[in-house]
Amino acid sequence: MSEKIKNIFIRGAISPAFIADGIQKHQSKTSIGGHSIFLGQVRADILNEKKVAAIEYTAYEEMALEKMHLIREYIFQKYPLTCLHIYHSLGIVEVGEICLFVFTSSAHRKAAIDACEETVERLKLELPVWGKELFTDDSHQWKINK
């Protein structure tokens, strides 16, 4: 799977229609028996009595794409996948909107499910991406991942 480096970044939120389109495109791949999808959605967290209105994402894009490429190669070696797609928002994503879309497909469900989870965990740890939590009172705070 030594493909060229793919872009994963999308400006703004990831729309349900974009996700549907991704699913639709896989209907011609008839060796697939299962898809696993993870979606990250911006939560209206309350931090010190301030409410999150949106998250603004920035990234060290070149490095993130290189790291994502290595994660992809690792995941494809570890699991018998047909496909692996990753999309991450940059810029402002409002509360309730989707900022992360990880999509794995395989002949049998176990590979897709495990690969999806491991990809999500690894990209959260390893990609140089930052979320700035924008509060309803116009103040902000840098997000901390658990």
Binding site: Y60, L123, L127
Partner: protein, 77 residues
């Protein structure tokens, strides 16, 4: 020896800059020493250092036009 230093997130905000060019630097430890001396915000700031997009864990020699990135804790996804 001109080193390009990329800043992100909190560090870019505190420095009000996304990029610095620092002269006469030959290693990452030297670079960090100079930055901490010139800009107090780097003292006690949480970040890892990447040289040419690879995170380093020890002092690393820098070349002319090296790109060093200072990366606050990641919070994507």
């Amino acid at each position: 020896m001109a080193i390009k230093v990329l800043l992100f997130a909190q560090l870019a905000e505190l420095m009000n800059a996304k990029e610095l060019v620092v002269e006469n630097i030959s290693s990452t430890n030297e670079l960090i020493g100079v930055l901490e001396q010139q800009y107090p915000v780097f003292k006690g700031a949480a970040y890892v250092v990447a040289v040419e997009k690879d995170i380093i864990n020890a002092n690393t020699k820098l070349n002319d036009f090296s790109t060093v990135a200072l990366l606050p804790p990641f919070s994507g996804g």
